[in-house]
Symmetry: C2
Subunit: 190 residues, 2 copies
DNA sequence: CTTATTCTGTACCTACAGGTACAGAATAAG
DNA sequence: CTTATTCTGTACCTGTAGGTACAGAATAAG
């Protein structure tokens, strides 16, 4: 009774996400999106409504992805190893690909001016903080990490360090310099 | 022989800078600038050439300003006190004013796509790193700071932490949480 | 083989970004 | 009081962002 959609919604969402990630919201034109997503203008607007609505979906989608990736990294039995892997990923995306993290990019570009974006971002931050926090408390109980400090303070500290890596990486810091910074940053756990 | 300029170039440059700082490059329209600078379209284009050229001047101007401010803070005989003051300023501009640092904002928005912007930013980073580094070496010689680590590693670490504060502050972190983070961050100096 | 739904593609539209191009007023030096 | 320079203001221009609105092809269910 009906012609089926010829594209997979999630697949094209992923493609759109990558464009927003690389160029930012404002610098991305409808044309950029259509080219990347390989769908027609008609399908675009009937499926996603508008550029902004699509962006919001991308942001939520991205947030879910990094959240599950974060869980995966921190599932490493050695928490320091997990953190080093996270830092490597952060440095890769900041120094090499020059993309950084879509959440922080959007916070910088839009958060002060778009309430819905702000909500999504705050939510993502809260959730990832909890993931770090739980894992750190675990590490403290097992004696893997010093118990001198509050686990949530450590969690926020780590998040801040990683955000900083992303920022200075996009600003042109060398990969090698950042690896030294990571080494310094993680000393706090001892 | 000539009618003098009715506006002070540096004064209107400062006003333009604030607009770019708050809204970012792309989101700032010529109209925003004209309104803030209070000069006519004619004067605008004859004096500054184009939006982008004006932006580049603002970026250099900003860079010089924070550099001298940084020197001032670090001139504090107690280096930790100087760092705390810097962190307060960073947190203010990220959490309260939601502006953050124009250098990092521009890095995030434009650096991957604009060579000249990239040059200015890398230069600013290099200069501020040197300022930190010199002061830290001084602190190490006077015994104020542990000499276990390379001064330039510490400098880059501090810069990264401050950049991180700015990023998570704009992403909605609470001021109180960030102050805890600062406390954790500075432990490394002991 | 009709029908309901979805596809692709093109044409069209409005608003504004970003800038140019005068015309005409102001003013200090000579 | 002319002249050279700069000011203000308005009018105008081009390109593109961001979207709407069909027309006409495709296709699976019944």
């Amino acid at each position: 009774m009906v012609r089926p959609k010829e594209f997979d919604e999630e697949e094209v969402l992923q493609k759109a996400m990558i464009v927003f990630w690389r160029k930012g919201f404002r610098a991305t034109t409808p044309n950029d999106l259509l080219t990347a997503m390989q769908i027609s203008k008609g399908s675009f607007y009937s499926t996603f409504g508008s550029k902004r609505e699509l962006f919001l979906r991308c942001l939520r989608y991205y947030s879910a992805q990094i959240e599950s990736q974060l869980r995966e990294f921190l599932a490493n039995p050695n928490i320091r190893q997990g953190l080093v892997k996270i830092s490597k990923q952060v440095m890769d995306s900041a120094c090499n690909e020059k993309t950084g993290c879509l959440i922080y990019n959007s916070a910088s570009e839009l958060s002060p001016h778009d309430e819905e974006v702000d909500r999504i971002i705050k939510n993502a931050m809260k959730r990832s903080e909890k993931i770090y926090c739980d894992r750190i408390r675990e590490g403290q109980l097992s004696g893997e990490i010093s118990s001198d400090m509050d686990s949530s303070a450590i969690a926020r500290y780590l998040i801040t360090c990683f955000a900083g890596l992303g920022a200075v990486g996009k600003a042109g810091a060398s990969r090698k310099g950042l690896e030294e910074v990571v080494a310094v940053s993680l000393q706090i756990l001892d």
